[in-house]
């Protein structure tokens, strides 16, 4: 068991996610037929034996709490350590609400200090990958850096990581500066917003931000250190998906229809765990006609499905035609309905005869719990 505590900071920019992040943080968005976005980083952590994980929310935590439960599926339902979910503390009497996420970390400084682990692995949820954190941690320790930031070298794919952090790294592997990717360069280093550092340094950074009062966001506080400290980069070269806009969300789902990509993401450095739903097998009837699609359990498929990601418990009726769609759990598409380039949030009933079409670059998004 490595001497690391894991911290997932769900303070993420949700503005480009449109309606699917209206009632849930990005970490709780359903993806790839049976997962939530947060499952990937959480599984990466437990796969190397991290068993003290805290999740700092922005307040919209109900869907995260429901999804993670007591952490049983990640083997985090423990007496000592385990899974902790921290919401920003709101004082109902004075009704003040602090801007920025750093207040939440300040409030939980006791928990962080009392945790027995010496190192912190700090991450967000929106970067999807299956990374061997053991190797990255070893690199961090061996290199003697104060902070090791994980990144991926990109060639091409300009528009895939718009608005992500762009690292300038020298030949020695040291991070010189951090900028923003605005899609101009073709060769660049995308920060995965995952890093290793000593817990004592992490505490220093937070306490510093209290005493100086300059920073409201943890990320700012850490980036201020880049010039002062020895910050290294660790290059990851596997599949990296970025869920920071609805277009990217759609893109990642479609990319997983490549079986080699999805085998890497789901198996390479350990399994990806998620909340199980005890769904029965998926039933294909005589009239089903499914190609190039990913289908989760509990579905009943009677229609035509092409290039789709179909979540648990979806029903697709006879003569329904569903192409290039992401269908979340418990949707029901009735006889003869036609959908193309659509993202259906969960629990949507599409009636017989309805046709919905988006564009391949601008998928149509339908909000959850509707009958259309």
């Amino acid at each position: 068991m490595p001497d690391i505590m894991g911290i997932i900071n769900l303070s993420e920019d949700e503005t480009a996610m449109r309606d699917i992040a209206k009632y849930r943080p990005i970490g709780a968005i359903p993806i790839a037929g049976r997962y939530r976005v947060i499952d990937f980083v959480l599984s990466n952590m437990v796969n190397i034996g991290i068993h003290n994980v805290s999740i700092f929310t922005q307040g919209k935590s109900r869907s995260i709490v429901e999804h993670l439960g007591h952490g049983k599926e990640w083997d985090l339902d423990r007496k000592k350590d385990g899974l902790f979910i921290f919401n920003p503390y709101v004082n109902p009497k004075d009704s003040t609400f602090h801007k920025g996420d750093i207040k939440n970390f300040i409030d939980q400084l006791d928990y962080i200090k009392l945790s027995k682990q010496k190192y912190v692995f700090l991450s967000r949820s929106y970067m999807i990958c299956n990374v061997n954190l053991q190797d990255a941690f070893k690199y961090h320790k061996d290199s003697g850096a104060d902070i090791t930031l994980l990144y991926k070298k990109m060639q091409g794919e300009k528009d895939k990581f718009i608005n992500c952090d762009n690292l300038t790294i020298n030949e020695a592997g040291k991070v010189i500066s951090v900028g923003k990717n605005i899609g101009k360069e073709s060769n660049f280093n995308i920060s995965m917003e995952m890093c290793f550092l000593k817990k004592s340094l992490f505490i220093d950074i937070i306490e510093n931000s209290i005493s100086k009062g300059e920073t409201m966001y943890l990320k700012q506080a850490i980036l201020q250190q880049v010039r002062k400290l020895n910050v290294n980069g660790y290059a990851f070269d596997g599949y990296l998906g970025c869920i920071n806009s609805i277009e990217n969300y759609y893109r990642v789902n479609m990319e997983l229809l490549d079986i080699e990509t999805s085998k890497e993401l789901f198996y390479k450095n350990g399994y990806i765990y998620t909340n199980v739903k005890d769904e029965p097998p998926t039933k294909y009837t005589e009239t089903a006609n499914v190609t190039n699609s990913m289908v989760a359990n509990g579905c009943i498929i009677e229609g035509t499905v092409e290039r789709c990601v179909i979540s648990r418990g979806v029903k697709i009726g006879k003569n329904a035609v569903v192409k290039d769609c992401v269908i979340m759990q418990k949707c029901s598409i009735e006889e003869g309905a036609v959908l193309q380039n659509v993202i259906l949030d969960k629990n949507i009933e599409v009636s017989s005869g309805i046709e919905l079409r988006g564009a391949s670059k601008k998928p149509l998004v339908i909000m959850k719990n509707q009958k259309i």
Binding site: A32, L257, S262, F266, P281, K283, S293, N297
Partner: protein
Amino acid sequence: MSREKKEIIAMLLAGGQGSRLNMLTEKIAKPAVPFGGKYRIIDFTLSNCSNSGIDTVGVLTQYRPLELNRHIGIGSPWDLDRKDGGVTILAPFMGAEGGRWYKGTANAIYENFHFIEQYDPEYVLVLSGDHIYKMDYSLMLDYHKERASEATIAVITVPWEDTNKFGIMNVDDESRIVEFEEKPKQAKSNLASMGIYIFNWKTLRRYLAEDESDRKSHHDFGKNIIPNMLHDGISMYSYVFNGYWKDVGEVKSLWESNMDLLKEDNTLDLYDRNWKIYSKNPVNPPHYISSTGKVKSSLLNEGCVIHGEVNNCVLFPGVEVGRNSIVNDSVIMPDVKIGENVSIRKSIIMSKVIIPDFTVIEDRENNEVVLINE
């Protein structure tokens, strides 16, 4: 009043080697045999318990329990990882007088007398772990209590021509059992015992103790306990069950009951959200059907990757079917890898078997079910 006191507990007989299932059970106990795409046979009984509100289940096993132990674990899938009660695996043990293997179904319960006593139950539900059915035992218990019955036996009507394969109950107008015949040649009724009993624990306890000291006894419920109770005029009722019920005791019936799930008029509804069948959930992504894949009239599970053609099949998690392969009317167990240009028909392929390219599997001569093991 301690929380440990239970109104009813279940004792599940899962000891069977099930030799008629031959190769399937060479390494595992019959209740651990995979069924229905993502289940094992015992999941149905355990899920019935959980859904019926029975939170204390003793699983009696003595034959190759490793696989069953692993499958049941601490009982989480069935919400049976309870602080008091929950599921307990009861293997034979050694007392001061030496070790004793279970001699029969009744003896197995008798040997775990102390386990039952610690919950001080009013009623004991005796179950067998090798039948496929969905049943609400709480309704059977209500019936048992309403009739002031001391022993209630669940029965199902079977075709008259099959009566010689079952224990047959002859009952009066009020469903009271008047006679029990084990595999009669000339049956007087077609009500077959399902091997599901509710006993008043006090009554059962007395009969088990008496039976234990009877040297001629087979220590079996059907052969000894039930006939003895009937003989003594104990108040016994039959409880008629309507619904899907199958004893998957042979390779053929295992294949058939899997194929039953593909029928339009199948009565074993796996999609009922109010009566889920729970099982250990594999850690696999959704299944994937490629641009060359074709799936019809089949059940598929997570982790399958289909490049070929699948018709009228039940595929367990992690099955791969290569390009240009055709699989018809078959049951493919977990993690089987089927190569390219393979043809399979009317077969059961056991877990983790690898089928090389260009293989043909089918019993063309007799049209029997083919069983492929490692």
